[in-house]
Symmetry: C2
Subunit: 328 residues, 2 copies
């Protein structure tokens, strides 16, 4: 048996093709395939249909914390690679009330050469959007979704989970909910704080994740630090939520209820430092009329990492692009 024990990350990124036939990668990617299949089966069963997200576009979602977008040229015109399909999910609701994408996201994250565990520069999101659904409804759907997937993997990929020595428990509903402000307090008791963007620092999030043994929600993030497309719950907080995996695995998914009033969206843009002139098409969409809706995006590789119990996110994608590492 070929193991990956002691292989430096650089070799696993630049020579990945030579390691793919190890039993570890075979197990990881067979499980990932089952995760994809189970995700789709669950969503179709709930009345969702799959649409196809764009990769290249004139404009993308700016709500990506410290990350930047990749700019390129398209027949001489300035274009970007989509960092998040959120705005395109809103447009997708014109087709059907319940939609999802499995969308490629490409982001230039700050280079942190010592971290191959949690950040990828190219990844997929299982991106769900539902009309006439509030935060409560989406939280409920997401909990069912995660439980369904873990259950399927346990049933259909026992051999692969054993190979990876992973004994993952099926979470119990309802998951715990912690308000963001309370999460900050919990982290600060152990000396952890916020990062420069006002989010919980990586260490703080990891600490809170470590002290849990079931997935849990952090809700009501500060309005200033998160995407303009979320609705407010009060003047300073959003009707949003992150799902966090336990055992130190950290962030699973981000979502919330959408702001669909164009004037309020504009206020949210100004509040979060976004130029409304870049999003004329979104205003057109909103004036054309959108139903009240909520959405959430699950990182496929983070879900794979959690279910397989592996340490490094670079091992949850076939051809990894880590910050600063193009691969092959």
């Amino acid at each position: 048996m070929k193991t990956l024990e002691g292989i430096v990350p650089e070799l696993k990124i630049y020579k990945r093709h030579l390691f793919l036939n190890s039993l570890i990668y075979k197990s990881i990617f067979k499980i990932q395939s089952t995760i994809l299949k189970a995700s789709r089966d669950f969503l179709y069963d709930k009345g969702f249909i799959e649409l196809v997200a764009p990769v290249i576009a004139p404009v993308t979602d700016p709500g990506i914390r410290e990350a930047r977008e990749i700019e390129t040229r398209f027949y001489g015109e300035k274009a970007v690679l989509v960092t998040s399909a959120i705005l395109y999910k809103l447009a997708g609701l014109k087709i059907h009330d319940k939609i999802f994408y499995v969308a490629p996201n490409i982001r230039i994250e700050p280079i942190s050469i010592s971290d191959f565990s949690t950040r990828l520069s190219e990844f997929r999101q299982i991106d769900i959007e539902a009309a006439y659904t509030d935060r409560e409804g989406l939280i409920s759907l997401s909990e069912e979704f995660l439980i369904y997937i873990i259950d399927k993997v346990k049933k259909e990929r026992k051999e692969e989970l054993d190979m990876l020595s992973r004994d993952i428990k099926i979470p119990k509903r309802p998951f715990r909910r912690i308000r963001f402000d309370d999460a900050v307090e919990i982290a600060s008791e152990e000396g952890y704080g916020l990062d420069s963007s006002g989010e919980l620092s990586k260490e703080a999030e990891k600490y809170i994740s470590m002290i849990h043994n079931e997935p849990f929600w952090i809700i009501d993030y500060p309005a200033k630090i998160r995407g303009f497309y979320y609705k407010k719950i009060d003047s300073e907080h959003l009707l949003d939520m992150d799902l966090i995996y336990p055992e130190g695995f950290g962030e699973a998914a981000s979502g919330g209820e959408r702001e669909i009033d164009p004037l309020k969206v504009r206020d949210r843009m100004l509040e979060t430092g976004v130029d409304p002139r870049r999003y004329i098409w979104l205003f057109e969409l909103l004036y054309d009329g959108l139903p009240p809706c909520s959405g959430i995006g699950f990182g496929l590789e983070r879900l794979t990492r959690y279910i397989t119990g592996i340490r490094d996110i670079i091992d949850a994608t076939l051809f990894p692009k880590a910050p600063g590492y193009l691969g092959l």
Copy 2:
């Protein structure tokens, strides 16, 4: 009912979000969703698993006729957007003997301002690769695949097909096969010829498609004009094939048996004008050992166009990027 009759393509590309709630787009994209689901159901049932293709990479497949790749920068390094996932499918066989991607492909096609019917600059391919399978096996699988999908759409999307006035027939197996050299002769009888790359011209392909009312294969393409990864059947022809839709809908899929001998791959590179130094990782993969294999890629939007019977390929993708048209 909102129709799209008489709407200029520019408006449908740059203001697509304002037309998405027309009954026509609702029908098209619900059918596309069923195509995606049926494709996956069929392939899983045949023992395939889905893997995730890369979008950005240091190198991509050069076998894309007149099209070019989009170059960009990744943390200062030169990178490209993947134009075809073929080489990455070969690597995927290290995980499992039967794999598929639903892969985004981005290509800079020559600008042809009058054609919105057949060319997209961003599209998806249902990209299938099977070890220990020859051309014959893959032709058989592909025919079953297409029939399964059309049958599913007819059963589950009758209302949408009716809305589009599309009465599509389930093709009969086996599909007709025409050798490339014979196809050239058939086209030349009507005055159609080859394009500058040595392929059948667009008009020639359309003519041959028009005179058929069932899908058919063109096989044995000239070795000089097609990808270096195909095996030869004799000194001048390849063990490859294109699937062509009838009624003028044209190319459906391209595939063939793979050359897995590294020295012969190098010869094929030199024969097709490709620099072997760009593909060191592929040679490593081949020396590490690959099973004999065959693969094929079905364009999702072309399949959608054929099944829905619409004229323009830009109407088979949610956020179209036509050559020179970025959209929104």
